[in-house]
Protein backbone atom coordinates (compact mmCIF):
# COMPACT_ATOMS: atom_id res chain seq x y z
CA UNK A 1 0.00 0.00 0.00
CA UNK A 2 1.47 3.32 -0.99
CA UNK A 3 1.89 6.39 1.19
CA UNK A 4 -1.15 8.13 -0.33
CA UNK A 5 -3.41 5.26 0.63
CA UNK A 6 -2.10 4.98 4.15
CA UNK A 7 -2.49 8.74 4.54
CA UNK A 8 -6.11 8.72 3.41
CA UNK A 9 -6.83 5.71 5.60
CA UNK A 10 -5.76 7.65 8.65
CA UNK A 11 -7.74 10.64 7.43
CA UNK A 12 -10.90 8.51 7.29
CA UNK A 13 -10.29 7.17 10.79
CA UNK A 14 -9.59 10.65 12.15
CA UNK A 15 -12.86 11.94 10.64
CA UNK A 16 -14.77 9.07 12.25
CA UNK A 17 -13.23 9.74 15.65
CA UNK A 18 -14.11 13.43 15.40
CA UNK A 19 -17.70 12.51 14.61
CA UNK A 20 -17.82 10.24 17.64
CA UNK A 21 -16.41 12.87 19.97
CA UNK A 22 -19.58 14.85 19.36
CA UNK A 23 -21.81 12.19 20.92
CA UNK A 24 -23.05 11.77 24.45
CA UNK A 25 -23.78 15.48 24.55
CA UNK A 26 -27.43 15.14 23.52
CA UNK A 27 -29.68 17.54 25.41
CA UNK A 28 -31.32 15.80 28.35
CA UNK A 29 -34.84 14.46 27.84
CA UNK A 30 -36.78 16.94 29.81
CA UNK A 31 -40.02 16.35 31.60
CA UNK A 32 -41.69 19.00 29.45
CA UNK A 33 -40.63 17.35 26.21
CA UNK A 34 -41.94 13.99 27.40
CA UNK A 35 -45.24 15.54 28.43
CA UNK A 36 -45.60 17.21 25.08
CA UNK A 37 -45.04 13.90 23.31
CA UNK A 38 -47.54 12.24 25.66
CA UNK A 39 -45.42 9.12 25.79
CA UNK A 40 -42.35 7.61 27.38
CA UNK A 41 -40.05 5.44 25.30
CA UNK A 42 -38.75 2.86 27.76
CA UNK A 43 -35.80 0.59 27.05
CA UNK A 44 -35.63 -2.87 28.58
CA UNK A 45 -34.07 -6.23 27.78
CA UNK A 46 -36.95 -8.67 27.46
CA UNK A 47 -34.95 -11.82 28.15
CA UNK A 48 -34.93 -11.76 31.95
CA UNK A 49 -38.03 -13.41 33.45
CA UNK A 50 -39.66 -12.75 35.88
CA UNK A 51 -38.59 -9.09 35.66
CA UNK A 52 -39.03 -8.54 31.92
CA UNK A 53 -39.98 -10.95 29.18
CA UNK A 54 -42.37 -11.43 26.26
CA UNK A 55 -45.42 -13.36 27.45
CA UNK A 56 -47.37 -15.95 25.46
CA UNK A 57 -49.51 -13.17 23.97
CA UNK A 58 -46.35 -11.56 22.59
CA UNK A 59 -46.64 -8.62 24.97
CA UNK A 60 -44.01 -7.15 27.26
CA UNK A 61 -44.64 -8.56 30.73
CA UNK A 62 -42.98 -8.96 34.11
CA UNK A 63 -42.47 -7.17 37.40
CA UNK A 64 -40.63 -4.19 35.86
CA UNK A 65 -43.02 -3.93 32.92
CA UNK A 66 -46.16 -3.83 35.09
CA UNK A 67 -44.52 -1.31 37.42
CA UNK A 68 -43.53 0.98 34.56
CA UNK A 69 -46.97 0.78 32.99
CA UNK A 70 -48.50 1.80 36.33
CA UNK A 71 -46.04 4.70 36.55
CA UNK A 72 -47.13 5.70 33.05
CA UNK A 73 -50.79 5.61 34.12
CA UNK A 74 -50.04 7.79 37.14
CA UNK A 75 -48.15 10.31 34.99
CA UNK A 76 -50.77 10.13 32.24
CA UNK A 77 -48.17 9.03 29.68
CA UNK A 78 -48.30 6.21 27.19
CA UNK A 79 -45.47 3.69 27.57
CA UNK A 80 -43.70 2.66 24.36
CA UNK A 81 -41.44 -0.37 24.89
CA UNK A 82 -38.11 -0.85 23.15
CA UNK A 83 -36.38 -4.19 23.52
CA UNK A 84 -32.63 -3.62 23.48
CA UNK A 85 -29.83 -5.94 24.65
CA UNK A 86 -28.87 -5.21 28.28
CA UNK A 87 -25.37 -4.07 27.27
CA UNK A 88 -26.78 -1.47 24.89
CA UNK A 89 -29.30 0.14 27.25
CA UNK A 90 -27.06 2.81 28.79
CA UNK A 91 -25.76 3.83 25.36
CA UNK A 92 -29.29 4.13 23.98
CA UNK A 93 -30.24 6.29 26.96
CA UNK A 94 -27.21 8.56 26.60
CA UNK A 95 -27.85 9.17 22.92
CA UNK A 96 -31.50 10.06 23.47
CA UNK A 97 -32.96 7.04 21.67
CA UNK A 98 -35.01 6.19 24.75
CA UNK A 99 -36.33 8.26 27.67
CA UNK A 100 -35.66 5.83 30.52
CA UNK A 101 -34.52 2.30 31.29
CA UNK A 102 -36.19 -0.27 33.54
CA UNK A 103 -34.40 -3.60 33.38
CA UNK A 104 -33.78 -4.94 36.90
CA UNK A 105 -30.84 -2.55 36.81
CA UNK A 106 -28.88 -1.74 39.94
CA UNK A 107 -27.65 1.79 40.53
CA UNK A 108 -23.94 1.03 40.72
CA UNK A 109 -21.49 3.93 41.19
CA UNK A 110 -20.01 3.26 37.72
CA UNK A 111 -23.40 3.47 36.03
CA UNK A 112 -24.30 6.48 38.14
CA UNK A 113 -21.49 8.38 36.49
CA UNK A 114 -23.09 7.88 33.10
CA UNK A 115 -26.81 8.22 33.86
CA UNK A 116 -29.07 9.24 36.75
CA UNK A 117 -31.09 6.79 38.84
CA UNK A 118 -34.39 7.04 40.68
CA UNK A 119 -34.69 5.93 44.27
CA UNK A 120 -34.76 2.13 44.39
CA UNK A 121 -38.16 0.66 43.56
CA UNK A 122 -37.13 -2.76 44.67
CA UNK A 123 -34.42 -4.17 46.91
CA UNK A 124 -33.47 -7.59 45.74
CA UNK A 125 -31.12 -10.35 46.73
CA UNK A 126 -28.76 -12.65 44.89
CA UNK A 127 -28.21 -16.35 44.60
CA UNK A 128 -25.49 -18.77 43.63
CA UNK A 129 -26.60 -21.68 41.44
CA UNK A 130 -24.91 -25.04 41.01
CA UNK A 131 -25.78 -27.97 38.76
CA UNK A 132 -28.05 -30.51 40.48
CA UNK A 133 -25.99 -33.41 41.75
CA UNK A 134 -22.68 -31.62 41.28
CA UNK A 135 -21.96 -31.86 45.01
CA UNK A 136 -20.51 -28.34 45.02
CA UNK A 137 -21.13 -26.64 48.36
CA UNK A 138 -21.23 -22.87 48.63
CA UNK A 139 -21.86 -21.67 52.17
CA UNK A 140 -20.58 -18.18 51.64
CA UNK A 141 -20.03 -16.08 48.52
CA UNK A 142 -16.26 -16.25 49.17
CA UNK A 143 -16.54 -20.03 48.70
CA UNK A 144 -16.76 -19.39 44.97
CA UNK A 145 -12.99 -18.75 45.04
CA UNK A 146 -11.14 -21.41 43.09
CA UNK A 147 -14.20 -22.36 41.06
CA UNK A 148 -15.14 -21.44 37.51
CA UNK A 149 -17.77 -18.73 37.87
CA UNK A 150 -20.47 -17.77 35.39
CA UNK A 151 -22.13 -14.33 35.41
CA UNK A 152 -24.09 -12.10 33.05
CA UNK A 153 -21.91 -9.30 31.62
CA UNK A 154 -22.22 -5.95 33.31
CA UNK A 155 -24.36 -7.13 36.23
CA UNK A 156 -23.58 -6.46 39.88
CA UNK A 157 -22.69 -10.14 40.27
CA UNK A 158 -20.12 -9.65 37.51
CA UNK A 159 -18.74 -6.55 39.28
CA UNK A 160 -18.51 -8.34 42.60
CA UNK A 161 -16.71 -11.38 41.20
CA UNK A 162 -14.35 -9.23 39.12
CA UNK A 163 -13.40 -7.18 42.14
CA UNK A 164 -13.32 -9.82 44.86
CA UNK A 165 -12.14 -12.91 43.01
CA UNK A 166 -9.56 -11.50 40.59
CA UNK A 167 -7.55 -14.70 40.41
CA UNK A 168 -10.47 -16.88 39.38
CA UNK A 169 -11.81 -17.87 36.03
CA UNK A 170 -14.94 -15.83 35.34
CA UNK A 171 -17.06 -16.57 32.29
CA UNK A 172 -19.20 -13.63 31.25
CA UNK A 173 -22.34 -14.20 29.21
CA UNK A 174 -24.57 -11.84 27.29
CA UNK A 175 -27.70 -13.52 28.68
CA UNK A 176 -28.41 -15.37 31.91
CA UNK A 177 -29.74 -18.38 30.02
CA UNK A 178 -26.34 -18.94 28.35
CA UNK A 179 -24.66 -19.10 31.76
CA UNK A 180 -27.23 -21.68 32.88
CA UNK A 181 -26.55 -23.82 29.80
CA UNK A 182 -22.83 -23.87 30.59
CA UNK A 183 -23.59 -24.63 34.24
CA UNK A 184 -25.64 -27.65 33.19
CA UNK A 185 -22.93 -28.85 30.80
CA UNK A 186 -20.19 -28.38 33.43
CA UNK A 187 -18.22 -25.62 31.70
CA UNK A 188 -18.72 -23.45 34.78
CA UNK A 189 -19.01 -24.64 38.41
CA UNK A 190 -21.26 -21.91 39.80
CA UNK A 191 -23.45 -19.14 38.40
CA UNK A 192 -24.15 -15.98 40.39
CA UNK A 193 -27.30 -14.02 39.53
CA UNK A 194 -30.42 -12.36 40.88
CA UNK A 195 -32.29 -14.52 43.38
CA UNK A 196 -35.67 -14.52 41.63
CA UNK A 197 -34.20 -15.15 38.21
CA UNK A 198 -32.17 -17.96 39.78
CA UNK A 199 -35.20 -19.54 41.42
CA UNK A 200 -37.07 -19.42 38.12
CA UNK A 201 -34.23 -21.38 36.51
CA UNK A 202 -34.10 -23.75 39.50
CA UNK A 203 -37.82 -24.38 39.01
CA UNK A 204 -37.04 -25.68 35.52
CA UNK A 205 -34.74 -28.37 36.96
CA UNK A 206 -31.11 -29.28 36.34
CA UNK A 207 -29.77 -26.53 38.57
CA UNK A 208 -30.36 -25.64 42.21
CA UNK A 209 -29.80 -22.72 44.51
CA UNK A 210 -26.74 -23.35 46.69
CA UNK A 211 -26.73 -19.99 48.46
CA UNK A 212 -28.93 -16.98 49.02
CA UNK A 213 -26.80 -13.91 49.46
CA UNK A 214 -26.25 -10.23 48.77
CA UNK A 215 -23.39 -9.21 46.49
CA UNK A 216 -24.01 -5.58 47.13
CA UNK A 217 -27.29 -4.26 48.29
CA UNK A 218 -29.16 -4.86 45.06
CA UNK A 219 -31.18 -1.72 44.60
CA UNK A 220 -33.10 -1.79 41.36
CA UNK A 221 -33.73 1.65 39.96
CA UNK A 222 -35.06 3.29 36.84
CA UNK A 223 -32.36 5.07 34.84
CA UNK A 224 -32.85 8.43 33.10
CA UNK A 225 -30.33 10.50 31.12
CA UNK A 226 -27.93 12.52 33.20
CA UNK A 227 -29.40 15.89 34.09
CA UNK A 228 -33.08 14.93 33.58
CA UNK A 229 -33.87 16.27 37.04
CA UNK A 230 -37.57 16.91 36.56
CA UNK A 231 -38.32 13.55 34.99
CA UNK A 232 -36.35 11.93 37.80
CA UNK A 233 -38.37 13.81 40.43
CA UNK A 234 -41.66 12.71 38.82
CA UNK A 235 -40.54 9.08 38.79
CA UNK A 236 -39.37 9.30 42.41
CA UNK A 237 -42.69 10.77 43.49
CA UNK A 238 -44.74 8.03 41.79
CA UNK A 239 -42.44 5.26 43.03
CA UNK A 240 -42.89 6.49 46.58
CA UNK A 241 -46.69 6.59 46.14
CA UNK A 242 -46.70 3.07 44.73
CA UNK A 243 -44.56 1.83 47.60
CA UNK A 244 -46.84 3.47 50.17
CA UNK A 245 -49.99 2.15 48.55
CA UNK A 246 -48.63 -1.41 48.55
CA UNK A 247 -48.79 -1.68 44.74
CA UNK A 248 -45.14 -2.66 44.40
CA UNK A 249 -45.40 -5.25 47.16
CA UNK A 250 -48.42 -6.72 45.38
CA UNK A 251 -46.49 -6.94 42.12
CA UNK A 252 -43.66 -8.67 43.96
CA UNK A 253 -46.07 -11.30 45.28
CA UNK A 254 -47.55 -11.78 41.82
CA UNK A 255 -44.30 -12.07 39.86
CA UNK A 256 -41.45 -12.85 42.23
CA UNK A 257 -42.82 -15.07 44.99
CA UNK A 258 -43.87 -18.68 44.76
CA UNK A 259 -41.41 -19.72 42.08
Amino acid sequence: MNRWKIGSLFLVLALLLTAMAGCKSEPANDWERVQEAGKLVIGTSADYPPFEFMNENDEFDGFDVKLMEEIGRQLDLEIVWQDIGFDGLIGALQTGKIDAVIAAMSATPERDEEVDFTQPYYIGKDAVLVATGSGIVVNDKEDMAGKIIGVQTGTIQDDWATENLPGDEIHRYERAEQAILDLKSGRVDVVALDYFVASAFAGQGGVEIALETLFSSEHMSIAVPEGSAELLAEFDRVIKDLQDSGFIEGLGEQYLAGE
Binding site: M1, W4, K5, S8, L9, V12, L13, L16, A19, M20, G22, C23, S25, E26, G43, A46, D47, Y48, P49, F53, M54, N55, E56, D58, Q82, D83, I84, G85, G88, G91, A92, T95, G96, K97, R175, A176, E177, Q178, L181, A200, F201, Q204
Partner: protein, 219 residues
Amino acid sequence: MWREMLQALPYILGGIGYTLGVTVVALTVGLVIGVLLALLRVYGRRAAQNFAAVYVVVLRGFPSLIVLFIIYYMLAALIDLPPFLAGCVALGVCSSAYQAEIFRGALQSVSPGQMMAARALGMSHRQAIITVILPQAFRNAIAGWSNEAAIVVKDSSLVYVVGLPELLRRAQQVAARLYAPFLIFTVTAVIYFLLTFATNRLLGWLERKTRIPQMVAAR
Protein backbone atom coordinates in the same frame (compact mmCIF):
# COMPACT_ATOMS: atom_id res chain seq x y z
CA MET B 1 -42.67 -27.96 25.69
CA TRP B 2 -43.44 -28.68 22.03
CA ARG B 3 -46.90 -27.23 22.45
CA GLU B 4 -45.59 -23.98 23.92
CA MET B 5 -42.99 -23.86 21.16
CA LEU B 6 -45.66 -24.25 18.48
CA GLN B 7 -47.73 -21.55 20.12
CA ALA B 8 -44.74 -19.19 20.09
CA LEU B 9 -43.79 -20.08 16.51
CA PRO B 10 -46.01 -17.48 14.80
CA TYR B 11 -44.38 -14.77 16.94
CA ILE B 12 -40.88 -15.96 16.00
CA LEU B 13 -41.85 -16.24 12.33
CA GLY B 14 -43.16 -12.65 12.53
CA GLY B 15 -39.52 -11.61 12.84
CA ILE B 16 -38.84 -12.84 9.30
CA GLY B 17 -40.39 -9.61 7.98
CA TYR B 18 -37.65 -7.57 9.63
CA THR B 19 -34.98 -10.11 8.71
CA LEU B 20 -35.90 -10.13 5.03
CA GLY B 21 -36.64 -6.38 4.92
CA VAL B 22 -33.24 -5.48 6.34
CA THR B 23 -31.53 -8.07 4.12
CA VAL B 24 -33.13 -6.89 0.87
CA VAL B 25 -32.58 -3.17 1.52
CA ALA B 26 -29.02 -3.70 2.81
CA LEU B 27 -28.12 -5.85 -0.19
CA THR B 28 -29.55 -3.21 -2.52
CA VAL B 29 -27.62 -0.40 -0.81
CA GLY B 30 -24.50 -2.59 -0.95
CA LEU B 31 -25.13 -3.41 -4.61
CA VAL B 32 -25.37 0.22 -5.71
CA ILE B 33 -22.32 1.37 -3.73
CA GLY B 34 -20.42 -1.83 -4.53
CA VAL B 35 -20.87 -1.57 -8.31
CA LEU B 36 -19.88 2.11 -8.27
CA LEU B 37 -16.77 1.33 -6.23
CA ALA B 38 -15.84 -1.53 -8.54
CA LEU B 39 -16.19 0.72 -11.59
CA LEU B 40 -14.01 3.36 -9.93
CA ARG B 41 -11.47 0.73 -8.98
CA VAL B 42 -11.21 -0.74 -12.47
CA TYR B 43 -11.89 2.19 -14.79
CA GLY B 44 -11.45 5.28 -12.59
CA ARG B 45 -8.60 7.77 -12.50
CA ARG B 46 -5.75 7.15 -10.08
CA ALA B 47 -7.33 9.10 -7.19
CA ALA B 48 -10.70 7.35 -7.66
CA GLN B 49 -8.98 3.97 -7.69
CA ASN B 50 -7.23 4.82 -4.45
CA PHE B 51 -10.46 6.03 -2.85
CA ALA B 52 -12.23 2.78 -3.74
CA ALA B 53 -9.32 0.71 -2.44
CA VAL B 54 -9.20 2.56 0.89
CA TYR B 55 -12.98 2.35 1.32
CA VAL B 56 -12.87 -1.42 0.87
CA VAL B 57 -9.92 -1.87 3.24
CA VAL B 58 -11.47 0.27 5.99
CA LEU B 59 -15.01 -1.08 5.82
CA ARG B 60 -13.91 -4.70 5.62
CA GLY B 61 -11.87 -4.08 8.75
CA PHE B 62 -14.81 -2.89 10.84
CA PRO B 63 -17.20 -5.37 12.48
CA SER B 64 -20.74 -4.75 11.19
CA LEU B 65 -21.98 -4.40 14.76
CA ILE B 66 -19.65 -1.46 15.39
CA VAL B 67 -20.60 0.22 12.11
CA LEU B 68 -24.22 -0.11 13.22
CA PHE B 69 -23.40 1.44 16.61
CA ILE B 70 -21.58 4.30 14.89
CA ILE B 71 -24.47 5.01 12.52
CA TYR B 72 -27.32 4.61 15.00
CA TYR B 73 -25.88 5.99 18.23
CA MET B 74 -22.77 8.01 17.52
CA LEU B 75 -23.97 9.86 14.44
CA ALA B 76 -27.42 10.41 15.96
CA ALA B 77 -26.54 14.06 16.60
CA LEU B 78 -25.97 14.59 12.86
CA ILE B 79 -28.59 12.33 11.28
CA ASP B 80 -31.22 10.71 13.46
CA LEU B 81 -32.09 7.59 11.49
CA PRO B 82 -34.92 5.34 12.65
CA PRO B 83 -33.73 1.84 13.69
CA PHE B 84 -34.79 0.09 10.49
CA LEU B 85 -32.99 2.55 8.23
CA ALA B 86 -29.91 2.65 10.46
CA GLY B 87 -29.74 -1.15 10.29
CA CYS B 88 -30.13 -1.21 6.50
CA VAL B 89 -27.55 1.53 5.93
CA ALA B 90 -25.00 -0.02 8.33
CA LEU B 91 -25.28 -3.53 6.90
CA GLY B 92 -25.47 -2.10 3.37
CA VAL B 93 -22.30 -0.06 3.81
CA CYS B 94 -20.48 -3.09 5.22
CA SER B 95 -21.78 -5.31 2.44
CA SER B 96 -20.75 -2.76 -0.21
CA ALA B 97 -17.09 -3.32 0.64
CA TYR B 98 -17.43 -7.04 -0.06
CA GLN B 99 -19.66 -6.51 -3.08
CA ALA B 100 -17.10 -4.06 -4.51
CA GLU B 101 -14.56 -6.87 -4.58
CA ILE B 102 -17.07 -9.30 -6.10
CA PHE B 103 -17.84 -6.86 -8.92
CA ARG B 104 -14.20 -5.89 -9.41
CA GLY B 105 -13.41 -9.54 -9.99
CA ALA B 106 -16.42 -9.85 -12.29
CA LEU B 107 -15.43 -6.78 -14.33
CA GLN B 108 -11.86 -7.99 -14.67
CA SER B 109 -13.00 -11.44 -15.74
CA VAL B 110 -14.61 -10.00 -18.87
CA SER B 111 -12.10 -10.57 -21.65
CA PRO B 112 -10.15 -7.40 -22.65
CA GLY B 113 -11.02 -8.25 -26.27
CA GLN B 114 -14.63 -7.25 -25.51
CA MET B 115 -13.61 -3.67 -24.80
CA MET B 116 -11.36 -3.53 -27.87
CA ALA B 117 -14.12 -4.91 -30.08
CA ALA B 118 -16.65 -2.42 -28.69
CA ARG B 119 -14.30 0.49 -29.25
CA ALA B 120 -13.53 -0.77 -32.77
CA LEU B 121 -17.27 -0.63 -33.47
CA GLY B 122 -17.19 3.07 -32.58
CA MET B 123 -18.55 2.96 -29.05
CA SER B 124 -17.24 5.40 -26.50
CA HIS B 125 -15.40 4.05 -23.46
CA ARG B 126 -18.44 4.72 -21.25
CA GLN B 127 -20.88 3.21 -23.76
CA ALA B 128 -18.71 0.10 -23.95
CA ILE B 129 -18.67 -0.29 -20.17
CA ILE B 130 -22.43 0.13 -19.83
CA THR B 131 -23.65 -1.87 -22.80
CA VAL B 132 -20.95 -4.51 -23.26
CA ILE B 133 -18.84 -5.02 -20.14
CA LEU B 134 -21.35 -4.55 -17.29
CA PRO B 135 -24.03 -6.96 -18.61
CA GLN B 136 -21.42 -9.69 -18.83
CA ALA B 137 -19.86 -8.77 -15.48
CA PHE B 138 -23.23 -8.96 -13.72
CA ARG B 139 -23.68 -12.50 -14.99
CA ASN B 140 -20.19 -13.43 -13.79
CA ALA B 141 -20.89 -11.92 -10.38
CA ILE B 142 -24.00 -13.93 -9.49
CA ALA B 143 -22.16 -16.91 -7.97
CA GLY B 144 -20.02 -14.75 -5.68
CA TRP B 145 -22.94 -12.49 -4.93
CA SER B 146 -25.16 -15.33 -3.72
CA ASN B 147 -22.46 -16.03 -1.13
CA GLU B 148 -22.72 -12.44 0.09
CA ALA B 149 -26.53 -12.61 0.09
CA ALA B 150 -26.46 -15.65 2.38
CA ILE B 151 -24.08 -13.84 4.74
CA VAL B 152 -26.25 -10.72 4.92
CA VAL B 153 -29.36 -12.82 5.71
CA LYS B 154 -27.61 -13.96 8.88
CA ASP B 155 -25.88 -10.63 9.63
CA SER B 156 -29.33 -9.02 9.66
CA SER B 157 -29.77 -10.52 13.14
CA LEU B 158 -27.45 -7.75 14.41
CA VAL B 159 -30.20 -5.13 14.12
CA TYR B 160 -31.70 -6.36 17.38
CA VAL B 161 -29.16 -4.15 19.18
CA VAL B 162 -31.03 -1.08 17.94
CA GLY B 163 -34.36 -2.52 19.08
CA LEU B 164 -35.76 -4.24 15.99
CA PRO B 165 -37.50 -7.48 16.99
CA GLU B 166 -36.16 -9.60 14.12
CA LEU B 167 -36.05 -13.38 13.89
CA LEU B 168 -33.12 -14.13 16.20
CA ARG B 169 -34.12 -11.63 18.91
CA ARG B 170 -37.65 -13.04 18.99
CA ALA B 171 -36.16 -16.51 19.33
CA GLN B 172 -34.03 -15.25 22.24
CA GLN B 173 -37.09 -13.80 23.95
CA VAL B 174 -39.07 -17.00 23.54
CA ALA B 175 -36.11 -19.14 24.63
CA ALA B 176 -35.80 -17.02 27.79
CA ARG B 177 -39.50 -17.31 28.60
CA LEU B 178 -39.81 -21.05 27.94
CA TYR B 179 -36.36 -21.94 29.35
CA ALA B 180 -35.87 -24.03 26.22
CA PRO B 181 -32.87 -22.59 24.34
CA PHE B 182 -31.86 -25.79 22.53
CA LEU B 183 -35.26 -26.43 21.03
CA ILE B 184 -35.94 -22.82 20.08
CA PHE B 185 -32.51 -22.15 18.60
CA THR B 186 -32.54 -25.39 16.62
CA VAL B 187 -35.88 -24.42 15.12
CA THR B 188 -34.49 -20.94 14.41
CA ALA B 189 -31.42 -22.39 12.70
CA VAL B 190 -33.73 -24.38 10.42
CA ILE B 191 -35.68 -21.19 9.58
CA TYR B 192 -32.44 -19.37 8.70
CA PHE B 193 -31.36 -22.34 6.60
CA LEU B 194 -34.63 -22.24 4.67
CA LEU B 195 -34.20 -18.50 4.07
CA THR B 196 -30.65 -18.80 2.73
CA PHE B 197 -31.57 -21.92 0.77
CA ALA B 198 -34.45 -20.11 -0.94
CA THR B 199 -32.22 -17.09 -1.62
CA ASN B 200 -29.53 -19.20 -3.23
CA ARG B 201 -32.07 -21.20 -5.24
CA LEU B 202 -33.49 -17.94 -6.58
CA LEU B 203 -30.05 -16.65 -7.52
CA GLY B 204 -29.12 -20.01 -9.06
CA TRP B 205 -32.23 -19.77 -11.21
CA LEU B 206 -31.25 -16.21 -12.20
CA GLU B 207 -27.75 -17.41 -13.07
CA ARG B 208 -29.07 -20.13 -15.39
CA LYS B 209 -31.74 -17.87 -16.86
CA THR B 210 -29.27 -15.13 -17.81
CA ARG B 211 -26.46 -17.38 -19.01
CA ILE B 212 -25.20 -16.61 -22.51
CA PRO B 213 -24.91 -20.01 -24.24
CA GLN B 214 -21.73 -19.36 -26.24
CA MET B 215 -20.01 -17.26 -23.61
CA VAL B 216 -17.42 -18.61 -21.24
CA ALA B 217 -15.69 -16.34 -18.75
CA ALA B 218 -12.12 -15.43 -19.66
CA ARG B 219 -9.46 -17.65 -18.22
